[in-house]
């Protein structure tokens, strides 16, 4: 059985229900967008799916193995997780921090393979020029890309990323979404928490819409992002307009 | 605290003459504010005449007469406590309880300050003087006479070829000239390490220096109760190995902390240790 599936997972923290029984998943080759208003439970569901937080009930199954009993090293190699920014990075070099993504392979280090993976990740995040800079001197957006590169360096078949484009300028946001698309095209399963509905609609194969600790809807973007659903969940009226300025694709890129 | 450098104070005793110590008026409410006068009192007067001694008097690591002192009232060394005890004589040292002694004197109480004994010869004189102050001159005379006789029996004639001994105490403290224990050493026919080695004014000697230039005899001066780093250094295995058998003797500090008849026990031990050394060399 392939894919990453969370079945009826629920979670309470400090006596408060933060996740009602919910199910969600991602198949190989699929890019899934996890959206919803602040406090809807997107990050919680993602952390449960990544095995960072054991659910009170339900279970998460990765490639047929329940995460609760799967080996840590196997999980670390199979599923790469990019959490929200937790701590300011130390003054280590960018390349050294990105190389932390190779730690799941620390038991049998392969210098050439690890080096190649790090270089690829740096290139994907547009950080090759900054590889020897102390991470403490990066700007907010550079820092976000450095953390993404760290997650990419694992080269795991599954990637779960929590708001990876929130701090990025439009060009880099588009570039990063392109990276996710390419990963999916290469057979990876990717789940991304997003706030930008436009990016979600444009890049994702499937959308999971969260509201008040549970999944309100999931499916193809056109089916989920309806006017009624957005009004109910976000409390906003939406308008589809033609003359708005929307960063669409990187200059020179082709669809 | 112990063996402070000397004041030259034969005179201090004279203070008491003002209050008629020489007329041998018997005192019945005596307060002592110093460990040494505590023990002197116990030698001379009946227990019921003592209304206060220091808390140290019953501490066997500091006081040879600790058993006798047990049960005696302990007096705090404050002016208030001393005056409230309504003593008819206050005995004290030269350095301790200065405020209490000053207060006692200002309220008109008879005060006698006894300086620390620095030589064995000081001891019989102090016994006589305190005995006179408390009103038992005959008892003092008897004790002092006995002391002098025993001293004569024990003393050795000093010679420049005497073995060298170092009195080594807690924290690496080496006892210098001008102290009672140094005088005991001389009377036992031993030369003090500090004079031979020319240590100058240093009173502290690391173990390593002591072993590098070892004296013939290591006199371990052990005092105090409980455990302390200061004393655990005296048990250092290096000292044990460098000063085996007859080269080492332990003298409990209480024997010569105060100048008392029992100080001659220290002299006796040292003289025997010296004899043992000589036998070993022969």
């Amino acid at each position: 059985m392939t894919g990453l599936v969370a079945r009826d997972v629920a979670l309470s923290l400090g006596g408060r229900v933060v996740l009602h029984p919910s199910s969600a998943g991602v198949a190989p080759g699929e890019l899934v967008g996890l959206i919803g208003p602040n406090g809807a439970g997107k990050s919680t569901l993602l952390r449960v799916m990544a095995g960072m937080q054991p659910p009170d009930q339900g279970q998460v199954v990765l490639e047929g193995r329940p995460l609760a009993t799967a080996g840590r090293t196997w999980r670390a190699r199979t599923l790469s997780f990019l959490p929200q920014d937790e701590v300011p990075p130390p003054p280590m070099h960018v390349a050294d921090l990105v190389a932390l993504g190779r730690l799941p392979y620390r038991a049998h280090p392969d210098r050439a393979r690890d080096g190649a993976a790090v270089t690829r990740a740096l290139a994907e995040a547009d950080l090759l020029a900054l590889r020897d800079r102390p991470a403490s001197r990066l700007s907010g957006g550079e820092r976000a890309r450095m953390r993404l590169a760290r997650a990419l360096a694992v080269e795991a078949p599954y990637l779960l990323a929590d708001e990876p484009v929130a701090a990025l300028d439009p060009a880099h946001a588009l570039a990063v979404m392109d990276v996710f698309r390419r990963l999916a095209a290469g057979g990876a399963g990717v789940v991304v928490v997003l706030h930008d509905l436009m990016l979600a609609a444009r890049f994702c194969d499937r959308i999971v819409l969260m509201h008040a600790g549970q999944v309100a809807a999931q499916g193809r973007p056109a089916d989920v992002l309806t006017d009624a659903a957005l009004r109910a969940v976000y409390g906003v009226e939406v308008r589809r307009i033609e003359d708005a300025v929307i960063p669409w694709r990187l200059a020179g890129a082709t669809e | 605290m112990r063996r402070r450098p000397a004041l030259t104070c034969l005179i201090v005793i004279g203070l008491v003459a003002v209050w008629g110590g020489a007329r041998a008026q018997t005192r019945h409410r005596i307060v002592s504010l110093n460990l040494c006068t505590d023990q002197m009192l116990l030698l001379l007067v009946p227990r019921q005449d003592i209304v206060g001694v220091t808390s140290l008097a019953a501490d066997c690591s500091n006081a040879v007469m600790c058993d006798a002192a047990r049960g005696l009232p302990v007096i705090r060394q404050t002016a208030e406590a001393v005056i409230a005890a309504r003593p008819d004589l206050v005995l004290g040292g030269v350095y301790t309880a200065a405020t209490a002694i000053l207060a006692a004197r200002e309220t008109g109480l008879p005060v006698m300050q006894v300086p620390p004994a620095e030589r064995l010869d000081d001891i019989p004189r102090q016994i006589r003087e305190v005995a006179r102050a408390v009103g038992v001159p005959e008892r003092g005379e008897a004790l002092a006479g006995a002391f002098a006789r025993r001293l004569d029996a024990l003393r050795r004639v000093p010679s420049v070829t005497d073995p060298v001994a170092a009195i080594y105490g807690a924290n690496g403290f080496v006892t210098d000239k001008g102290s009672l224990s140094d005088d005991v050493l001389t009377h036992a026919g031993l030369r003090n390490f500090t004079t031979v080695a020319g240590m100058g004014r240093a009173h502290f000697l690391p173990i390593e220096m002591l072993i590098a230039r070892p004296p013939d005899l290591l006199v371990v001066d052990r005092s105090g109760v409980g455990t302390s780093l200061a004393q655990s250094m005296l048990d250092h295995p290096a000292l044990r190995d460098a000063f085996p058998g007859p080269h080492r003797v332990t003298i409990p500090a209480r024997l010569w902390l105060c100048g008392l008849p029992q100080t001659l026990d220290a002299l006796d031990r040292l003289a025997r240790a010296r004899d043992a050394l000589e036998r070993g060399n022969r």
């Binding site: 095995g51 090293t73 730690l103 | 240093a202 502290f204 690391p206 590098a212 409980g226 004393q231 295995p237």
Partner: protein, 334 residues
């Protein structure tokens, strides 16, 4: 490339430690003929030279290496784990807690039961201090950590002073300096034997966390997602806490709370190793050993009348680093 540089650094530091170790045996307060002393020592003769070499200088030099190494390594491990370059067993009150534990055992006669009680007392005190610290700080930042550490270390020092004042020994109250500043004078092989197991075990435990500390550089969740266990009996936290407590507790029990080694050594080495915690651990052990060997040699040169505590010298070296760090922190904040 990094590997080769690290290996060169470790080789240089290791060579320096060996050289100074030898020097501290050859040279001391008194002049002894080293060759004959060695021969006497090996032959089991109690000559003055052999006693000085084997029972005074050797245990002292061994302790300088193990205590300095353990303190340097603890500093590096704590700094990596707490992601804070100001972390140090002394600054955080771990050494203070250990000193309190050791004082309670040493002066109350508990040591009469067994000499092994001394390091156990130190371990208990250190463990209590680390747990209290972690509990107090929780998820708080650098400032909370330093405040908690300052509070903890002054509290432990006050309790140590109180305990010493209440002890029956007339000397006890004067020995506060040994316990809060530390000293290697007049240590015996007994001290070496009782402190060695805890020190070695603690150091090994800290060394096993090397890669995990690297992973922690980007936060707990990143480390967790890379396959490291944070909590639980075999987790990083338990290994750092127990390792520090074992090493610091055992060392402080025999040498007092020598301060600032764990702060100053990683700080001096970082320009050479980079900021990756794993690359700092072994050099910090060697650097700490080196610092204490140098400081102990200085103590012997400078002590004429009374003895200078070795901790005074490490504090003199360490305090400026602390000032520098604080200034840097202020600049970072404004």
């Amino acid at each position: 490339m990094n590997d080769r540089r690290d290996r060169t650094l470790v080789a240089i530091l290791g060579g320096a430690v060996l050289a100074l170790f030898a020097l501290s045996l050859v040279w001391g307060e008194s002049a002894i003929a080293f060759g004959p002393a060695c021969a006497d020592l090996l032959a089991g003769r109690h000559s003055a030279g052999a006693v000085i070499l084997g029972e005074l200088r050797l245990p002292r030099a061994i302790l300088a290496v193990t205590v300095g190494g353990a303190l340097g390594l603890s500093g590096a491990a704590l700094q990596g784990y707490l992601r804070n370059p100001l972390a140090d067993p002394g600054v955080l009150g771990v050494s203070g807690g250990a000193a309190l534990g050791a004082v309670l055992v040493f002066y109350t006669g508990l040591m009469g039961l067994s000499v092994a009680m001394l390091p156990l007392g130190g371990l208990a005190g250190a463990l209590l201090a680390v747990l209290l610290l972690m509990g107090l700080v929780g998820q708080g930042g650098a400032l909370v950590l330093l405040l908690a550490g300052a509070a903890l270390s002054s509290f432990a020092a006050a309790l140590t002073a109180l305990a010493l004042n209440l002890m029956p020994s007339p000397y006890a109250s004067f020995e506060i300096m040994h316990w809060v500043m530390g000293s290697l004078t007049d240590r015996t092989f007994t001290h070496v034997w009782i402190s060695l197991p805890g020190t070695l075990l603690g150091c090994l435990l800290m060394l096993t966390t090397a890669r995990a500390l690297d992973a922690l550089a980007l936060g707990d969740e990143v480390a967790e997602s890379l396959g490291f266990r944070l909590r639980g009996p075999a987790g990083i936290q338990a290994r750092v806490v127990l390792g520090t407590a074992l090493a610091v507790g055992s060392c402080v029990a025999v040498a007092g709370a020598i301060g600032f080694v764990g702060l100053v050594i990683p700080h001096l080495l970082r320009p050479l190793t980079g900021h990756q915690p794993s690359r700092l651990l072994l050099p910090s052990f060697l650097g700490g050993a080196l610092l204490l060997l140098v400081a102990d040699a200085a103590v012997r040169v400078l002590s004429t009348g009374t003895e200078i505590q070795i901790g005074v010298l490490t504090a003199l070296a360490g305090a400026p680093v602390f000032f520098f760090r604080v200034l840097k922190m202020r600049r970072g904040m404004s």
